[in-house]
Structure formats: structure tokens, C-alpha cells
């Protein structure tokens, strides 16, 4: 179950401005009444989009082909619902560039092979402006050199070292890696006194 390494994401971008955009906004809870992730793309930013009446970046034709979502700080805070990155992935997004991300959201993204990379505020603002002015340009996230390149230039990105390694190695889908530990899992369980109810 080894996955392909993810070292580079290149594509058009879309900008959703604002900080602290929580997963309830990315996908409202009433759309989680399902037993599969299929079809969730329709509900991405559902309430925000309905209230914007077509004036939301996800409904902007110019961004229709976007594969990279550019966001502000603390993106994906709140609920642990994987439905949030699933909905965005199923809309065609393959990576996120932001100021910062909530921890559970990033963990969910890594498990799906979606890099979340952070830029310094001035570089992020420049990228947002550039993409809004020229949505057809290609934006490149390059993990080996830890850079983001767009028409405004090449700037350094930051990413958690462990996640960088998981994505680069193709070990981002953790199940197979964890299974490799084999009996060491049972040995760890056996040394924890509570696992057998403190029978001693």
C-alpha cells in the first residue's frame, strides 16, 4: 500500500481570504449525515457560498481550474472532521498554501497526500494579490527545495519536518507504515499495566 511520493504540486490557485476559517465553515455539520465521503465536494464552503450569492472565490469562473487553495492563518480550526479536506480534495484541490493551519486539519491532509505549507505574511499577501490579479498563472510548491514559485518570484515555505518526510517518502498514508511494526505493537500493549486491567 505504498503511495506515490509527493514532492511537487503545480497548478492554478484560488484565494480564500480570512483567518480562523474553521471546518464548520469548510463543510457545515448538517452535510456530514452520510456514511461515505462521495459527493461532499458540493458542500464545500456551502453556507459561505450561498450567502455570498455567487460572489465566493469557489464560484468564481476564473478560479474554476484551481488545484491549490491559498488561505490565511489558522485555517481548518475546530472540528476534526476529515470531511473538510475530503470536500476540498474532491473539488480538485491538491495542496494548501497559508499563513498557518490547525493541527488536526494538517494531519488529515497529510493522510490524504495533500501538503499544507506556510509562507511568511508578506510573501503570502503578495501571492494572494498576484493570484487574484492573474488566476491563470501556475503556482509551484516544491518540497525538496522548500519553496513556492509564482510570477512574483520564488519564496521559502515552511512545513513540519515529519510531514515533509512522509509526503516525500510516499509514507503519508500511515496504515502500511504502522503495520510494519508487527509484533512490537503487542509487546508495547503488554507492558502497559492497564491493557489487561491491572491484573499484574
Amino acid at each position: 500500500m505504498a503511495r506515490e511520493p509527493i514532492t511537487r504540486v503545480e497548478g492554478r490557485a484560488c484565494v480564500v481570504r480570512g483567518h480562523d476559517i474553521d471546518t464548520d465553515r469548510i463543510i457545515p455539520a448538517r452535510y456530514l449525515r452520510c456514511i461515505s465521503f462521495e459527493g461532499l465536494h458540493e458542500h464545500a464552503f456551502r453556507d459561505d457560498r450561498e450567502q455570498a450569492k455567487g460572489d465566493h472565490p469557489l464560484d468564481d469562473e476564473r478560479f474554476a481550474a484551481a488545484e491549490i487553495l491559498v488561505v490565511g492563518h489558522n485555517f481548518g480550526s475546530g472540528s476534526s472532521r476529515e470531511h473538510a479536506p475530503q470536500a476540498l480534495m474532491r473539488r480538485g484541490f491538491r495542496a494548501f498554501i497559508g499563513g498557518s493551519f490547525a493541527e488536526i486539519f494538517v494531519g488529515n491532509c497529510v493522510a490524504l497526500g495533500l501538503p499544507c505549507v506556510s509562507l511568511a505574511d508578506e510573501h503570502l499577501e503578495a501571492l494572494m494579490e498576484a493570484v487574484e490579479l492573474d488566476p491563470e498563472q501556475s503556482v509551484v510548491i516544491d518540497l525538496p527545495t522548500r519553496t513556492v514559485t509564482s510570477r512574483v518570484g520564488t519564496v521559502p515555505l515552511s512545513i513540519h519536518d515529519g510531514h515533509h518526510r512522509q509526503l516525500s517518502d510516499g509514507t503519508w498514508d500511515a496504515t502500511s507504515v504502522l503495520l510494519e511494526a508487527g509484533e512490537a505493537i503487542e509487546r508495547t500493549a503488554a507492558r502497559l499495566p492497564y491493557v489487561d486491567g491491572f491484573r499484574g
Binding site: G18, H19, D20, D22, D24, R25, P28, A29, R30, L32, R33, C34, I35, S36, F37, D47, E50, Q51, H73, N74, G78, S79, S80, R81, E82, H83, P85, S100, A102, E103, I104, G107, N108, A111, D161, G162, H163, R165, Q166, D169, T171, D173, A174, T175, V177, L178, L179, A181, A184, I185, T188, A189, A190, R191, L192, P193, Y194, G197, F198, G200
Partner: protein, 481 residues
């Protein structure tokens, strides 16, 4: 010298001056992964109907069995209606989710606490009350409020569905060790000031992303004096401060709470458990990445005014004025105030409400209902206000009914409901309508959180919610008690 309680605990490599986080982490470490992360054994896995069905489907696709079915427990909470738990559930989508959970748990041999079990309730309420949640465990659940269980001195955190699959398949997660920030709350809380006010004040001070990368260790006289239920409230909202987990070192309050619970150890096992539980607490000389102090004497009842839990004021304070804040922060403040329909500089007290919600994994326990009832008995719900009380579990409901709290709430004009998550996130029929304003004892005031895309939430303690219900406006509970 702490007694040695098992062949592997405390780990011989454990340096003196370790925090609980480090001790529990090292005891559960299966191995270091090439990524630099730890393969961490998960001692207790809790699942519910919303984030688990896809995980079971992935497992089936991989042809993998559930590795430790006895370490996973399930319940149904998010989608359960609170007017009637009769099957089939009125919402066919909800019924389908419950059927999936029943099938998946039956097939895997996982214990399910369904409504018929008399043990059903919000996953973060039933774990502690059944004695499943214990000190020194690692606990994971596909729900961000898993941080709640840290109140017992467990390392407990929320995960997504792919990680639920990982735990089902391997009982492990690949995770980076968090840093530890010790938050000491000094002094003593005044009357009418609750655990909810402590955590809202912490989040206000440290921000909603201040805790990213950290585990929060809550300590100090205020935390030590708290009951287990109060500590659960504090740890519950760690995630609202950005910290994936938060914990309190276990002490006699913890042990007394656990004694005699359904899944608590007994007799000789109890003695061995005590030794382990005492040994996992942070050493007095533990090293912390950061320390923060909060003066409990100065805390007042808190109310959120905005669209994230860091946007709160004391009930006797005024809403922020844009000019008092740095230029860069002003657009966000303006956005929040505009969404809420509130004016800068106005007092928060007196803000009109339409709905009052008492419940949730933050504040749906018996002590929460008792405090709210102390207020509710002084009057009647104001005309035009919809007020509902949703116990966190069937056990909480039974206890409350035994104490006559259901009757007390009903005669004051509140709706008395059955156990579930309810209007905290409105996946069931309990929802705000239009731009209604809700005084809520839950944990999130995000846009649209309570079921209406334009609904508005004011977070506060259960007693403050009850006071707001009676007045029809945000009121200082200290004037009612």
C-alpha cells in the same frame, strides 16, 4: 520513589524531571518512525457514528481486521434526536448512520453503547462516567473534543477518519510529540465563576491558535480545587485554544471519581492502578517549553461576542472598539461584530437572546445541570425564548430526574430532552432558525455552527445560560444567585 507497577513501567530510560506528557508518550511509544514521528500505541479508542463509517469501509477495502477490538468502544451521539430515540430514527440519514455503526461494531466485536444499553450519551461524557477514561492512557477519537479526557491525566486527542482507520487496523498513530505549556491558575474563583469562565479566559489570553504544537498542562490552586467534571470542562476546550490535547495531573480527586465505576479496576487491581496513576503525574521539577499564569481571583463570568471562542469578554465588560486594536486586527473584529449584529463599545450584558441551550460535551454533566437549576428555580423562561436542556448522557438524565431537576426545569419553562450532542453542532433536528441568537453552554460560536447559516452563538457557563433564559438577555449570573 514511585513503585514499579509493571515490567515496563516506569520506563527505565525515563529521565527525572519529566512531564506527564513525556512519561505517557514514552510508555506508549512502539518505535520511532523514519519521519521522526512516534508510532504511538493508543490505549483507548472511542468511536461514534459520524467519523467512523468511512474508516470501517477503508479497512474492508484493505482487507484488514480490527487489531484490538476490546480497546475500542462506540456510542451514538451526534445525530441522535433528543425528542425521541425511538427506532427507526425520524431522519432516514441518521438512521442509516446508526445502522452502519451497529453493523460495523457487531462485525468487529466492538462494544456499542446504543440507546437501549442505558449507557448511551456524548462520547466525552460516557467515557469518564463509565470509568473507561483513566490516568496514564493514550486516548484517541474521531472528534476534536477528545481533549476532554485529559482531565484524568490521559494524553487524549482528536483525529480524522483516516487516522480512525489507522487505529482500527494497528491500534497506533504516527504522531509528533507535542511541546508542553504549563498553565497555572492561581487564587480562587468567586461565586458565579465557573470552569467554563476559566477556559474561555485562557483562550482569550493565549488566542485560538496559541496552542498549536502544544499540549496544555492545567495546574495551580484553582485547577486542583476543581471537581472532575469541572476539569473535564477545562480540558474539553483545549482544542478551541489550538492545543490538540490538554491535561490535569491525576490526584486524589481523580482517584475518588474513578472508584467503583463500571470499568474501573477493583481490589488488588485497584491498588496496582493507583501506583501507575500516581507515577505518571508530572515530576515537581518537570521541564516545560512554556509557562503561563492566570489569576483566578480576577476572573468573572465570560461571554463570547464573536465568531471564534477567543472573542470573549467578562459579562461586565464592553465589546471591543476597533480603534483600541492594532490596524491589522481590525478587519477581523469588524467582520465578527457585523456577523453578530453587535456594536463596538456596547456592553455585552443586555444583549437580547432568542434561544438558550444547556448541554454538550463541555457542559452537559450533572454538576452543570445542578448549577443551571439553581438559577432556573428563581424564575421563568422569558416570553419568546426557546430554552432546552439536553443531558450529556442517559446516566446524567437518570441522575437529574432522580433529583427532580427535569421537573424543576420544565416548570420554569425549559424543554427537558434526551441525551446527545444536540444543538452544539445541530446534526440532529435541534437547530437555530434564521439569525436567532443563542446563549449556549457549548464550545463553538463559529458562523453557522448551531444549524442556521446565519445563526449566532454566545458561549457562556450553564448558569449564565439559565440566567439569560430567564431575563431574555445576557445577564450577570452573580446578580441572580
Amino acid at each position: 520513589m514511585p513503585p514499579t507497577v509493571g515490567p515496563g513501567y516506569p520506563p527505565s530510560s525515563m529521565p527525572p524531571g519529566s512531564s506527564l506528557l513525556d512519561k505517557v508518550w514514552d510508555a506508549h511509544s512502539v518505535r520511532e518512525l523514519p519521519s521522526g514521528q512516534t508510532q504511538l500505541f493508543i490505549g483507548l479508542h472511542l468511536i461514534h457514528e459520524v467519523t467512523s463509517p468511512q474508516a470501517f469501509a477503508m479497512l474492508q477495502e484493505l482487507g484488514l481486521p480490527v487489531r484490538f477490538p476490546s480497546r475500542t468502544f462506540a456510542t451514538v451521539d451526534h445525530i441522535i434526536p433528543t425528542d425521541s430515540q425511538q427506532r427507526p430514527l425520524a431522519d432516514p440519514l441518521a438512521e442509516q448512520m446508526l445502522i452502519a455503526l451497529e453493523g460495523n461494531t457487531r462485525e468487529a466485536g466492538i462494544t456499542l453503547f446504543d440507546p437501549a444499553s442505558r449507557r448511551q450519551g456524548i462520547v466525552h461524557v460516557i467515557g469518564p462516567e463509565l470509568g473507561l477514561t483513566q490516568p496514564g492512557m493514550t486516548i484517541a477519537c474521531g472528534d476534536s473534543h477528545t481533549s476532554t479526557h485529559g482531565a484524568f491525566g490521559a494524553v487524549a486527542f482528536g483525529i480524522g477518519t483516516s487516522q480512525v482507520r489507522d487505529v482500527l487496523a494497528t491500534q497506533c498513530l504516527a504522531l509528533a510529540r507535542p511541546k508542553v505549556r504549563r498553565i497555572e491558575v492561581t487564587g480562587k474563583l468567586g461565586a458565579g465563576v465557573y470552569a467554563k469562565d476559566v477556559i474561555l479566559s485562557i483562550i482569550r489570553q493565549l488566542g485560538v491558535k496559541g496552542g498549536v504544537g502544544y499540549a496544555y498542562e492545567y495546574a495551580g490552586p484553582v485547577i486542583e480545587a476543581m471537581s472532575m467534571e469541572e476539569r473535564l470542562t477545562v480540558c474539553n476546550m483545549s482544542i478551541e485554544g489550538g492545543a490538540r490535547c490538554g491535561y490535569v495531573n491525576p490526584d486524589d480527586t481523580t482517584f475518588e471519581y474513578l472508584r467503583g465505576r463500571e470499568y474501573s479496576p477493583e481490589a488488588d487491581a485497584w491498588q496496582r492502578a493507583l501506583a501507575y496513576w500516581r507515577a505518571v503525574a508530572s515530576d515537581p521539577d518537570a521541564d516545560y517549553a512554556d509557562r503561563v499564569e492566570l489569576d483566578g481571583d480576577r476572573l468573572a463570568p465570560s461571554v463570547t461576542w464573536g465568531i471564534h471562542p477567543g472573542q470573549s469578554v467578562a459579562v461586565d465588560e464592553h465589546l471591543p472598539r476597533l480603534a483600541d486594536h492594532p490596524h491589522a486586527e481590525q478587519p477581523q473584529l469588524a467582520e465578527a461584530l457585523a456577523y453578530m449584529g453587535l456594536r463596538p463599545g456596547e456592553p455585552i450584558a443586555g444583549t437580547k437572546i432568542d434561544v438558550a441551550f444547556i448541554g454538550s460535551c463541555t457542559n452537559g454533566r450533572i454538576s452543570d445541570l445542578r448549577e443551571a437549576a439553581r438559577v432556573a428555580r428563581t424564575g421563568r423562561v422569558a416570553p419568546g425564548v426557546r430554552a432546552l436542556v439536553v443531558p450529556g448522557s442517559q446516566a446524567v438524565a437518570r441522575q437529574a430526574e432522580q433529583e427532580g431537576l427535569d421537573e424543576l426545569f420544565r416548570s420554569a419553562g425549559f424543554d427537558w430532552r434526551e441525551a446527545g450532542c444536540s444543538m452544539c453542532l445541530a446534526m440532529n433536528p435541534d437547530k437555530l432558525v434564521g439569525r436567532e441568537v443563542c446563549a449556549s453552554s457549548s464550545n463553538r460560536n463559529f458562523k453557522g455552527r448551531q444549524g442556521s447559516p446565519t445563526g449566532r452563538t454566545l458561549l457562556m457557563s450553564p448558569a449564565m445560560v439559565a440566567a439569560a433564559a430567564l431575563r431574555g438577555r445576557v445577564a450577570d449570573v452573580r446578580e441572580v444567585l
